[in-house]
Structures are given as structure tokens and as C-alpha cells.
Symmetry: C2
Subunit: 364 residues, 2 copies
């Protein structure tokens, strides 16, 4: 499979090696939790959120960034005058909170990191837009905004841009259990939740595509919508789905936030299991456009983008329709899209005849 990210300058091999070094070192420090009455829960280093326990309280922490989508927002503002910084702030909160809720935790507090190369960035209302989008994200995630940091890092960050990231701490709701994948079993249903488009991954590639088009980000999609406008639609907040599952007492066996690596993320659990997808959601127009523009084959497309599936919930088959219903109750379209099968670790996306083998997802 060609790797469109590598062509766009992102070398996952080097990054993954650095990440593995970091996780090896991090693992040696976990005993430090003990002095304050804490202990690790499961083996969550390198998972979407780190989970630990204090007394009966199961806590989860995450630190996440938006990537380069903020550059898209600045370029689109230059092209059109439209300020979409509220949307990318919301998107950052979604990236953070959607990772956190994968382990069954809901956020208490989300902190913001807005870094720029020049304080001039904040003139002209962008600061207020970021603030309003971050606040809306926290409200939709059910979290308190606990502050954060807004440094000016001259020489380190591009002067006209802002870098967005943040952190969250949350808890597994009382009465619920952390979702760490140990209950994942053959026969489980795979429920896919609808995406809204690019989400936080793929912005580098999207910028490269736009740069090659005569009308750039103002290129019209078949629907008439502008490419830049569609790219900047924020991700949905999936946290309310997880909250609703807890409220209804529906137990699930695993959850995966589908970001970089596309549907390869369906085999995120380190288990000898196969994942058979026999139905696929509609592909958002903006993703179809990007796939066509870069001429990605189905393997590259479904191994790179979410292709309409932003979050996966794995659950015992009898619970599948209840999961779909719970998602619908909070406004998220969902479908039972496949089944967990006996190993080896692989994802088979039958409708497009694509198979990803286990070694195509080395995240740690």
C-alpha cells in the first residue's frame, strides 16, 4: 500500500520508533503512582488514554493535538475572509475527548493549549473565535474548561498560525467499568458511528491537494460546497454516546476512535482477532473528493481516512441494536457494520475488498 502521509512528509516509522522508546521508558515509572495511593488499571500506555485508579475512582488522562488543520483554517480565512477558528477549536476538544472516552471515561476537565509564533495572531477576533469554539466543545463533551496555556513562541511556530492541543482528565462513571478490550471476543458486533468528514487527521494531505488545484480551497465540490468549507467541518463529539451507554447500562467490549490509519484502527486491540466489515457508511463528499484527487486505491483510502466511520464500538451481538439506538438518541448515526471473527489480527473490509494485516498497524 502506498502511504500518502509519507508523501506529504509525515514519516510514521521514525515517529513510531520514538514513540516506542518513550513507552518503554514510561512503563518503568508507573510504580510512582503507588506513593499517592494510585495504581495502573490494565496496560494502557500507548492506548488512547492512560487509565489509573485511586480508591474506587477510575481516572483517565489524555493529551492530544489537532495537527495542522489550523493551517487550513488560516489559509481558508485568507482565501475567503471567513473565520473558522471556532470550528477548529471545537475539533481539538473533540480529538481530545473522543480519545478519552474510548476507555469508557467521561471528561471532568479539558485544558487548552493555543500556541502561536506572534501575538498578532490574536488580533482581529481569532482569539475570541478559539475561545468560543473551545467552550462549545467543552459543553458538548460535558467537561469543565480548567484553563491552559497560550504561549507566543517566536521562531518556533509559524507567525501567522496557531497550534492547538490540550489535555483532559476524566473518570469512568460510577457503576461502569473501564473499557480496555479484555472482554472483546469473536462474535462481537462492530458498530460504526458516522463521521462528518476529515476530522483531525489528514490536514497535511488535504493542504497538498488544495495547493495543486487552480481554485485551491475554494474549489467547488460536486454539491457546490467549497472544499475548504467542507474540510473545516469539525468532528462530532462522540462522548455523549459513551455517556448514554453508561446511563443505559449497556456494556461494550472495546471502542476505537478512528483517526490516522483509517479503518486499520479497527484492530487497535492487541488481540488475535479478525474484524470483518460487511457494510460501510456513506463516505463524506469531502473524503471522496480527496481520494479521487490523490487517486488513492481503496486500500490506501480506507487505510488513511475514516471514510465515514469516525468511531467504532465493539459489543456482544445481542447489545448491538441497543448501541445503535443509544447513539441515535444523542444524534449520532450508527450502524451494525460487521463482526469480530477468530484471528489472525486483520481487518477485512468486504464491500471494497480490502484487507489490512496486523503489521499494518504498529502503534506501540
Amino acid at each position: 500500500m502506498t502511504d500518502p502521509y509519507r508523501e506529504a512528509g509525515v514519516d510514521y516509522d521514525v515517529l513510531d520508533a520514538a514513540k516506542r522508546d518513550a513507552l518503554t521508558a514510561a512503563a518503568t515509572t508507573l510504580g510512582n503512582l503507588d506513593a499517592l495511593g494510585g495504581r495502573p488499571v490494565g496496560d494502557t500506555l500507548g492506548e488512547p488514554a492512560f487509565v489509573f485508579q485511586v480508591d474506587d475512582l477510575v481516572l483517565a488522562v489524555v493529551l492530544e493535538c489537532l495537527g495542522t488543520k489550523s493551517v487550513l483554517a488560516r489559509e481558508y480565512e485568507e482565501a475567503t475572509g471567513l473565520d473558522r477558528f471556532a470550528d477548529i477549536a471545537y475539533d481539538t476538544v473533540a480529538a481530545i475527548a473522543n480519545d478519552l472516552c474510548c476507555v469508557g471515561a467521561l471528561p471532568f476537565v479539558i485544558n487548552a493549549y493555543f500556541a502561536t509564533g506572534s501575538a498578532d495572531f490574536y488580533s482581529g477576533g481569532r482569539g475570541q473565535s478559539l475561545v468560543s469554539g473551545w467552550k462549545r466543545g467543552c459543553e458538548d463533551a460535558g467537561a469543565a474548561w480548567g484553563g491552559g496555556e497560550s504561549p507566543t513562541l517566536a521562531g518556533l511556530i509559524a507567525e501567522s498560525d496557531v497550534e492547538l492541543a490540550g489535555s483532559a482528565v476524566g473518570r469512568v462513571p460510577a457503576g461502569a467499568r473501564p473499557v480496555l478490550g479484555d472482554a472483546l471476543a469473536q462474535g462481537d458486533a462492530i458498530v460504526l458511528l458516522a463521521s462528518t468528514g476529515l476530522h483531525a487527521n489528514g490536514a497535511s494531505l488535504a493542504r497538498r491537494v488544495a495547493a495543486d488545484l487552480p481554485d485551491g480551497l475554494r474549489t467547488k465540490l460536486p454539491s457546490g460546497r467549497e472544499l475548504g468549507d467542507a474540510l473545516l467541518v469539525p468532528a462530532p463529539m462522540y462522548v455523549p454516546v459513551v455517556a448514554e451507554l453508561a446511563r443505559r447500562g449497556i456494556e461494550v467490549s472495546y471502542m476505537s476512535h478512528i483517526t490516522g490509519h483509517g479503518l486499520r484502527k479497527l484492530m487497535r486491540a492487541r488481540r488475535d482477532l479478525s474484524y470483518e466489515i460487511d457494510r460501510l457508511p456513506d463516505v463524506p463528499e469531502v473524503l471522496s473528493f480527496l481520494v479521487d484527487a490523490v487517486d488513492l486505491d481503496p486500500s490506501a483510502a480506507y487505510g488513511t481516512f475514516n471514510m465515514g466511520a469516525g468511531f467504532a464500538i465493539f459489543c456482544p451481538e445481542p447489545a448491538a441494536s441497543a448501541v445503535v439506538e443509544a447513539a441515535g438518541a444523542v444524534g449520532i448515526d450508527a450502524m451494525v457494520a460487521g463482526r469480530v471473527r477468530p484471528g489472525p489480527r486483520a481487518v477485512h473490509v468486504a464491500p471494497v475488498d480490502v484487507t489490512f494485516s496486523g503489521e499494518q498497524l504498529e502503534l506501540r
Copy 2:
């Protein structure tokens, strides 16, 4: 007072306005803690750490960055071949954990954010250096390293540099109380803990100074040490002092991590109180050098740099010597340096005849 930061391109007025907007919005979200069984403790938005409570557990969260000191490390490596990235990673952990412990909390988990403009940054051992320094920082802070994020943000971050930041979640130890300043009173002693040099603030200014020197970062200080070497000495970890105070049952009334704004940070508590400093610690050689190089008067020097005092602990007068002893027991030099007096809000640094009025520290 002239503001050397402004001359170095950092406009605190614009930043502080953006920060105030953010805090106003954040304050409206705090009710969201309730749904998960949490509640705010005190009024800590905009304080060094946000504090909230779940059942009997008092938690604190912080998100902090190193600033541009990583650029200094890269420049020094270019000039000398010496890899000091472990030191700046340690420094980042210190910046985070020293903020967290101001409220009396000790860290459970610290997460890392290493962002660069090109994955090539990690070739040649820098990745391993960052990992080793971060790990050492977590060990000295008594924290578990819970993972983090290491994105490549092409076009957003300088290609040859790395941006370091991170987040922490901690707790106030069982049996201790959060330190929020409400007990701060006239007559309290002010104990200053020794700094090691620049710490995480002032790197932009230091780079500007170095750029104007014929030998740049290799300029010899009077001791013979190179400027770059001295600038890159990491901050001490003050967390063990706070842990030792809790262990010994010594109650303090306020703590302030002295970073940007120098000794103006002594009046961080939003109280009508004056702070009289009648003794000062030795000034680290590298700070004296910077002060001379930029020709800062004492007001600018003590209002910008820590000038030898990296952390302040306020406590009832009878406890002052016990605080000094507790710091010494974990290897941190400390001195009783002054007293809290009746208002108005101001800091008087008698040995250098400098007074900072309340409006010279508008942090929120």
C-alpha cells in the same frame, strides 16, 4: 519599567487579554463537573493549577510548556555538538510539576508533548535524549509518565526544532489541604527556594542577547563556563519540597512558582497584602550576565527573571525555619527572605530598592 520581553517580541498585553477572555468563558463551564460527581475547590481558574474535588479526593490539573528554550538547545548543539535535549525535557517536566505543586498537589501522571516540524528532528539521538530527560523528570517529581503525543506538524513548527509541553494530574495528599492562599495573612514569613538559572522563562531574551555577542552561546561567563551551557541548566524540581512539607505535617499559606514576571509573582495571591523582601539569594551567574548584557535596571531585572529565587513559600512565622529545613532535607537551598505586611498589594524588594505595585502583575 521597560519590558524586555516586549522588546523580544512577546506582548503580554495582547496575551493577557486573550487569557482573560478564555477564563471568563471557562468559568461558565465549571458546573459540568457536577454530573460526574465533581466540584470546583476554591477559585483556581487562572491559577497555576485547576483544583477540583471528587468525594474526598482533591485533584489538580495543569498544562504547561517550556517556551522557546528548546531553540536554545538546538542552537547550542549546532555550536558545540553537545546534545542537551535531555536537560530541556527535564526542564519541561519541572515547569509542569512546579506549577502543579503550588496548590499543594503532588503529581500522579505527567504526559509529554513533543512536537516538531520534521520527523528528521529525531534522527541522531535527540529522541532518546528527550525520553531520558522526561523520564528523569518524572522520577524526580514522583510521577508516572502516562504517555503523550509526538506529532510532526510540517509548516506549523520550525523544521529543525522541537516544541515541548505537557500536562499533569495530581492530588493533594491524604491528610493535607489544598494551598489556595485563603490562609495567607500579614505577618507570614516568605521563604525563597534557590533557582539554578534561567528556568523555563526568558529564553527569547537570552537568544537575543546571544545573537548580539561575537561568540554567541559559546561566550565565556566570568567563571569560564559557556553562556549556552549555563542557560541550559534545568530548573530544580520543587515537588519534593512540597511532598516533604506534607510528610512533616507543616502547613503553609501560599506558594508561588517564580517564572515570567520575576519577583512580581510574589504578589500572585489576589489579596490586599504587601510583600516585604529584606534578604535576597545569590543571583546565578548566568542571570547576572543577562542583566548586564541588556543593561536592565534592578526593577526590570527583578520584574523579569527569578534572580536566584525560583519558588516562594508563604507560611506562619513560627513555621518558617521548619520550611527551610524541609527544603534542605531534599537538597534545595532556602532562606527566610521577608514578611507579608498589611496592604496595598505590592512587592518591595528592599535590598535593591525596587517596588512593584499590584497593577504590574495582571495575570487574570
